[in-house]
């Protein structure tokens, strides 16, 4: 699974939550990148360098360059150690033109989003992950891959959507019954997006152990409730006999306009005397001999 996540390049967005944390998967990806010979830069904002390097072997640690934004990110100690361009400047400085493929792990994008305008962060990430050039800077020779950890609950839909649209691969942490899983969305160029769900667990040395889903505990079959016929103990009869049913079906309803009724109305039946109307016209009456209903086609 790790190979497929690292294969596409660009921005890999790791979305985690309080319940299912994503830093261990980030560290597993960092370890995989380092062991495949790449140089890995880590922009660490949320944990100390010791805590991030904990659990890595020495060959991984030697390829890991940690940019420390944890101890004094806002320059409160006024020692001047901070990078002159701030966190984004530090990110852009990793963008070297002479190096081979590099992997940049950002821990975390949430910290950057809370402290920097979303637009600036997105622009920097776009430049980094798409390998476009800054004015005056040649594009990099090798591939740049950015692994970004994002805490979902801390941001609104806007920034989440913006970062999501920048990502070539989006990994959402989830889980059930103590078992972690990821939902992966691959956006390969000129291909349809592909989804994958994988259950896994991360070993203490940050290798991945793929697993099947959790074994669902045998659910209790819902106790079979015998169906009760509600009409059994009524004091009135709701059933129809066959003859009653036929009579009911043959009955025409009083306000239903069928063709028989129409004919009966238009043609007076035999034996029916035509009715007479006796009318004494008033002074104000306008007697018009024309039949106003002449144009009706009945």
């Amino acid at each position: 699974m790790l190979e497929s996540l690292l294969a596409i390049g660009g921005l890999v967005l790791l979305r985690d939550s309080v319940e299912w944390e994503g830093r261990s998967l980030l560290k597993a990806l960092v370890k995989k990148s380092a062991l495949s010979g790449e140089q890995v830069h880590v922009l660490g904002c949320e944990v100390s360098e010791e805590e991030f390097r904990e659990g890595f072997e020495s060959d991984v640690n030697s390829r890991l360059i940690y940019h420390d934004l944890f101890r004094d990110p806002l320059n409160w100690s006024k020692t001047g150690e901070a990078h002159p361009g701030g966190p984004l400047g530090a990110l852009r400085a990793m963008y070297r033109t002479d190096s081979c493929s590099i992997t940049i792990a950002v821990d975390s994008l949430s910290w950057l989003l809370l402290h920097l305008p979303c637009t600036e962060l997105c622009q920097t990430l776009h430049v980094l992950s798409h390998g476009n050039s800054y004015p005056g800077v040649n594009p990099p020779v090798g591939e740049v891959r950015v692994l970004g950890l994002l805490h979902e609950e801390l941001h609104g839909q806007g920034p989440l959507g913006a970062l999501s649209s920048l990502a070539q691969t989006e990994v959402t942490m989830d889980g059930k019954m103590g078992q972690a899983s990821v939902h992966i969305l691959y956006r390969r160029p000129q291909q349809r997006p592909a989804y994958q769900t994988q259950w896994f667990s991360i070993l203490p040395d940050f290798n991945l152990d793929l697993q099947e889903g959790p074994v669902e505990s045998q659910q209790q079959p819902s106790s079979h409730v015998p169906l009760v016929d509600p009409t059994t103990h009524l004091t009135f009869n709701l059933h129809l006999s066959k003859k009653e049913r036929e009579a009911k079906d043959n009955l025409t309803l009083p306000f239903q306009f069928s063709s028989e009724k129409q004919q009966a109305l238009l043609r007076p039946g035999p034996g029916q005397s035509s009715s007479h109307i006796f009318y004494e016209p008033d002074v104000y009456d306008d007697l018009d001999q024309e039949d106003p209903d002449e144009d009706l086609d009945i």
Binding site: F70, D72, L114, G178
Partner: protein, 286 residues
Amino acid sequence: MCPRHPRHLPIFTHPGRSVSELGMFPELNNLLNTSPDRAEQGKLTLLCDSKTDGSFLVHHFLSFYLKANCKVCFVALLQSFSHYNTVGQKLGVNLTTARERGQLVILEGLKSSADIFFHPQEEPHPLRFLRETSAESLQPLYEFVREALKPVDSEDTTWRFPVLLVDDLSVLLSLGLGAVAVLDFAHYCRATVCSELQGNMVALVHDSEDAEDGENELLLNGLSHQSHLILQAEGLATGFCKDVHGQLKILWRKSTGRRDRSLIYQYKIQDKNVSFFAKGMSPAVL
């Protein structure tokens, strides 16, 4: 002046002692699998309460770390010193003595916020943001904490490790600060107290589930991501009950690949103790 002996308060771990001598809540220690003499270091513990009052957890940790012979910096924004002292005495610690010995440094929010308006201040005050029209950062408060907990070579007593206790962070939101400013303060405190000095930090945040409070949500979630241990006290979903005051959810978060572990217990707060039991197993019900 009598010489101050560092081990003035013996640490009781023997069963059979009365609860008031043991201090803290021994049942909670059992649930957390810890005791004053073998407490872990470098950890951030987040306390949160929703629909109930979680201050019993604050009193527990205050007496726990005083009993563990740690130097405690207590940022007490919610109640007065005498309140904490009264409850502390029921739990077997004397805050006045601890303050005089130098073991406890307490910032009384209620008293010092009045000072900041009515008395002239020469040096920058930790709660200076109350006077500023656009309160941007809690750096003065962080400097206060750092000064209080930094190791001093001239002291003849050596404390085990420093502890920062904050009661509580949601009050800072109500006083006009943004959630990001409070998160930055917590970040700097964690970097100094937990990482650099290998001490512990305990903070209480209220969780108002019903209200549409985006800033509090951001603060709670942001701190949850940084915490190693989260204790969530919730009122019962069915309402107030005489025998079961609430439910405590304990979540251990490890960011090193080990699986998270969580437990749920119900509790009842008594005068000097809090008793815990599994869900539905309250002695009043059985």
